[in-house]
């Protein structure tokens, strides 16, 4: 909300300045984060474990497949089993999966924080609903 808008809405100039100069308190933010973490500990735990558990088999099989000779012959025969190419492929795909995993964790954590701060119930369905609504 800018100054012109706030004055239009009847907020005094002094109030506007006071509101903006209110400091973002360190000793309020960290305990607030702690309390949210403790309050919804199992939700956060589940939200962290689930994408990790889903991503882990993919990452594992990428490593395993790249160790197979047939795959090497089919895909990277041109480089004659050049190790850096394998490493590049593994790193690239793993990084991609890792990015998806971290994005899922960050997004869901933000939603839980949002629901908790706006005093809405934090349940499995409410998180799914919030994620679903955020598609648009």
């Amino acid at each position: 909300m800018d100054e012109a808008e706030s004055i239009k809405q009847g907020e005094s100039n002094q109030n506007y300045i006071e509101r903006l100069s209110a400091d973002l308190k360190v000793f309020k933010t960290i305990p607030q984060s702690f309390s949210i973490l403790i309050k919804h500990f199992w939700t956060f735990f589940g939200l962290m474990i689930t994408p990790t558990a889903v991503a882990f088999p993919f990452q594992y099989f990428i490593y395993r497949i790249l160790q197979l000779k047939t795959f090497n012959i089919l895909v990277i025969n041109a480089w004659a089993y050049n190790l850096p190419v394998q490493i590049f492929i593994v790193t690239f795909i793993s990084l991609f999966i890792e990015l998806i995993r971290i994005s899922m964790i960050l997004g869901s954590f933000t939603f839980v924080t949002y629901l908790s701060l706006t005093h809405q119930p934090v349940t499995f369905f409410s998180i799914i609903k919030a994620c679903w609504n955020a598609r648009y």
Binding site: M1, S6, R19, L20, S21, A22, D23, L24, K25, V26, K28, T29, I30, Q32, S33, F34, I36, L37, F44, M48, I105, L106, G107, F109, T110, F111, V112, T113, Y114, L117, T118, H119, Q120, P121, A134, Y136
Partner: protein, 199 residues
């Protein structure tokens, strides 16, 4: 820029290690490096909540993250620093001390029964416990020496503590970014997080 910084720091660390052969000499450089990262991070700290809640694209959410904490970047920096430094450090200190004092009596008894504990003491002896209490062959650190607390305990305990510290820190960072975003929105009058919105 980060790549260049990383490369320079690595070179610096290698050179210093070679020249001084003292690990503690690199601590100031690591500190400067971490401060640089936190400064950059403070500017993009609330990009993810902005992106998720306001449904912005990459550039817009980064811009939002740059301009929403206007006049509050220092606070964001302090919050980030506190979570990144103080919380892992306190976890290490608490668990390290707990481990040493819980395990000490049993280790001391088993010293003469099962195995010779002096091997343990001599193995970790390189790290120079600043003030130690020596009973027999065993010595426990009495000072708040971070390195001795961290390296003086077995690897399995150290790894467990590290994993716990990382999990708590990463979770708190994400939650804090959301809290900071909402607090800033509240300061700017953009969102209502009062109990009146309770369903």
């Amino acid at each position: 820029m980060m790549l260049i910084l990383t490369f320079l720091l690595n070179q610096e660390i290698k050179g210093l290690r070679y020249f001084l052969s003292d690990q503690e000499a690199v601590f100031p450089f690591i500190f400067i490096y971490l401060i640089t990262i936190i400064v950059i991070w403070a500017f993009v700290f609330i990009a993810i909540p902005a992106c998720v809640i306001e449904n912005l694209n990459i550039i817009k959410s980064l811009k939002r993250s740059l301009y929403l904490p206007k006049h509050h970047h220092w606070s964001v920096f302090k919050i980030l620093g506190a979570i990144l430094f103080l919380i892992p450090a306190s976890i290490y200190l608490l668990t390290g001390w707990l481990y040493i004092y819980v395990s000490f009596p049993t280790s001391f008894l088993s010293n003469y029964v099962l195995f010779n504990l002096s091997n343990f003491a001599s193995f970790y002896g390189d790290f120079n416990f600043a003030q130690t209490l020596t009973i027999g062959d065993f010595s426990i650190p009495l000072s708040l020496n971070f390195a001795s607390l961290y390296w003086g305990i077995p690897e399995i305990v150290r790894t467990t503590i590290t994993v716990i510290a990382q999990l708590v820190t990463s979770s708190l960072i994400t939650i804090a970014s959301g809290v900071v975003y909402f607090n800033l929105r509240q300061i700017h009058g953009g969102t209502e997080t009062e109990p009146s919105t309770r369903p």
